[in-house]
Amino acid sequence: MSGWAMALFKRDLRLSVRIGGSALVGVLFFLAVVTVIPFGVGPDLNLLARIGPAILWIGALLATLLGLDRLFQADREDGTLDLMMMSGRPLELVVLVKCLAHWIATGLPLVVAAPLLGVFLNLDPVSMGAVTATLLVGTPALTLIGAIGASLTVSLRRGGLLLAVLVIPLAIPVLIFGVSSADAAIHDPVPFLTPFLILCALTLIAAVVGPVASAAALRFSSD
């Protein structure tokens, strides 16, 4: 990674870890969602084990969406975003680096917390590992797709809710393949690797489409 990208990465990571402690809030929200589910569906451990991967995935999706509206907004408010756009660096790369830093600050803690929360949901070690692996591969896709929504709503005062509505349809494939590869590891209707590799492909597609579309949206919203 060249110098400026590394500097930007470190700056973003430091900002998101220090101010507001977004990593911790995301994990707390994740915990709250997982805690609430048994109150809704009842404490039946067999049922919880069956829908556990789905609960963890939906919790991770919601926690990711919750943190996304700050991806560009703080930088826009204090003018940093304009400086980044005028710096002459490729904006797509800037977005990619920012997404990476954002994922490490908010997505990675969710992945780390997932096995722990799996205990509450009566997941056995195999499915716990499977869910963690799919979250590790899949949550970057959520952040990258969400970056498109974040840059579209960056100029809106209350864009958080709209962002979620815009991003959720685009995130459905990630959710489907994340949950089904975790399910495939437990009771195998298909081999684990088939949906898992498609999930990896989706993340790679998102790594291309996300920064390009998001950079385009940022450029249009500024001029």
């Binding site: 709503t153 959720i168 393949f177 919203s221």
Partner: protein, 254 residues
């Protein structure tokens, strides 16, 4: 006249004025013929009289895909060629597309009740159409929340194109999800065996729906152009009465 000449909104409005009455007439006639044919068509040996719902369900479903295609092409027009009518076209197509998607879902579930015994099944096709409806509504909301039509048009164009890239992926993943979770025992909505007596009314109805879309789209585009004129004139009036605060703003297609 070349395609580019219609970039001038005034010339476009004049064209609409000429074409619209003919299109309306053609649309009404096709609908009359199509409806007559669809109620004259023989009933299906398996689905009985409920096959009549197909004559509105399938055209509505086909239109909700075509409408998104029109929006995607218009978005390319907005972003690549900066055609002044492209974002007008995309913006006015969105509510019409949402309405056709709603119709497809509604007739689908009303057809599902007698056929499957329930109004809603998480069938692959119904589910992807539901996702499409959410995307239409999200796009409409994005348009409403930004007051500058040019910026809103560009933002919506980016989202429309990302959606167009994503729609095949969504369709594919919903199909995959559906085969995992559901045995393929449900009655297929439009089975492979379609008799010519049923095909002709379906084709006529599809043409009628397409004409209806064209009529509504042209009318909505005309409204949008007029709305932008009103907006520009009001802003000019406001800046004329408060000369100190006059702001230089980009002029949308009017």
């Amino acid at each position: 006249m070349a395609f580019w000449d219609y970039a001038n909104p005034t010339r476009f409005l004049r064209l609409v004025q000429i074409v619209l009455p003919w299109l309306v007439g053609l649309c009404v006639i096709t609908f009359a013929v199509g409806l007559y044919m669809s109620f004259q068509a023989p009933e299906d040996y398996q689905q009985g009289q409920t096959i009549r719902i197909m004559y509105i369900h399938v055209p509505a479903a086909w239109l909700c895909m075509m409408c998104y295609t029109v929006m995607s092409l218009s978005s390319i027009g907005t972003l690549v060629w900066k055609h002044p009518l492209a974002d007008v076209s995309a913006k006015s197509a969105a509510p019409i597309g949402a309405a056709f998607t709603f119709m497809a879902l509604l007739t689908g579930s009303l057809w599902g009740k007698p056929m499957w015994g329930t109004y809603w099944v998480w069938d692959a096709r119904l589910t992807s159409v539901l996702v499409l409806l959410i995307m239409y509504l999200g796009l409409m909301t994005l348009w409403r929340t930004m007051d500058d039509p040019i910026k809103a048009g560009k933002a919506a164009a980016v989202l429309t194109l990302v959606g167009a890239l994503n729609l095949p992926i969504i369709k594919f993943s919903v199909d995959w999800w559906n085969t995992l979770h559901q045995p393929a025992s449900v009655v297929r909505l439009d089975g492979p065996t379609i008799h010519p007596d049923q095909l002709w009314p379906l084709l006529v109805m599809a043409i009628a729906f397409t004409l209806l879309f064209l009529v509504l789209h042209l009318m909505a585009m005309r409204n949008e152009i007029l709305r932008r004129r009103v907006r520009a004139l009001r802003m000019r009036a406001a800046s004329a009465s408060h000369p100190g605060t006059a702001a230089a703003t980009a002029q949308p297609a009017e």
